[in-house]
Amino acid sequence: MSFTIQKTSPSAAVIRVGKALDFRNAAEFKAACQEHARQGVRFFVLDFSGTGILDSTGLGVIFSLYRQLTPAGGQVVFASVSRPVQVVVQLTRTYKVFRQFPTVDAAVQSQHAAQAPRPTGTA
């Protein structure tokens, strides 16, 4: 029932949530995310593929991460959302807060697109 965190860039990380994010591992999850945020990660992709349980405590630490990141322009997004997590997202209207992507790659690409230098206008 463990999650894994993989940095994709100095400012981005993908968290594979695993089978469950609930009251049993929420504190550990929160501490790990906070540590990465301290190290400069501002964009977190939560990979919910295969996640069977997201309870209110797990959702709460995700909101905690959101509150930590947003003042600094950071983001938390969801990817590969399993049906059980989608049910929770719908029940709590979390879709209003966290963008969802069909795959982790799509989520990571969205961050790259957001950070790409904008073309300058021609004279």
Partner: protein, 187 residues
């Protein structure tokens, strides 16, 4: 489905999920539940048992939790009994309502609201000396449930949280009609 008894608070969540897995693999809950109904059942049961594990005060050195799920034509009826002292469920629900109107998303305080949103006829009362019972019925979720989270009878706040600015209406009895019996606060 018979009543199942659990005595190990350290493993009860895993044990309950294993039981639910077995029922779902066997198709024991279909009908009346569809796959989304099974997901909601798992969520509701998990939230309550997680609440017991984290917050209940068990007087005995051997706490007991019983889970009973009965199939009806269009719903399941769930009963979860335990040997804790009980707690002020209505007070906790009111506290969670207050948290919803915080200016920023709160880290805590959604579990009981999620439970009440998923269920109908929620009842929490003594079931004997040092024994409490939570019971509810649960149907397959429909749009009313998905649209109705958290605002069964709450007035809009002057400055609601930016992501929860729509009022919704919960079907069923809602918060105020819970037939609760005041219990000593065990927390």
């Amino acid at each position: 489905m018979s009543t199942h008894r659990f005595t190990n608070l350290g493993t009860v969540i895993d044990d309950v999920h294993a039981l639910l897995d077995a029922w779902m693999d066997e198709g024991s809950l279909q009908p009346p539940l569809n796959p989304d109904g099974e997901i909601v059942l798992r969520l509701a049961v998990h939230e309550w048992i997680a609440n017991l594990v984290q917050h209940a005060s068990f007087l005995s050195s051997e706490p007991e939790i019983w889970l009973d799920v009965q199939r009806n034509p269009d719903a399941v009826t769930v009963s979860i009994e335990d040997t804790s002292r009980g707690f002020d469920l209505l007070g906790q629900l009111e506290e969670q309502h207050e948290l919803l109107h915080a200016p920023a998303p709160s880290e805590r305080g959604r579990g009981l609201l999620m439970l009440i949103t998923c269920t109908d006829d929620l009842n929490y009362c003594p079931a004997g000396e040092n024994r409490q019972q939570l019971s509810f019925t649960l149907k397959n979720p429909d749009e009313a449930i998905f649209a109705g989270l958290f605002y069964p009878d709450v007035q809009s706040a002057a400055s609601p949280a930016p992501f929860l600015h729509e009022e919704a209406h919960l079907g069923g009895d809602g918060l105020t009609s819970l037939p609760l019996t005041p219990q000593p606060d065990s927390r």
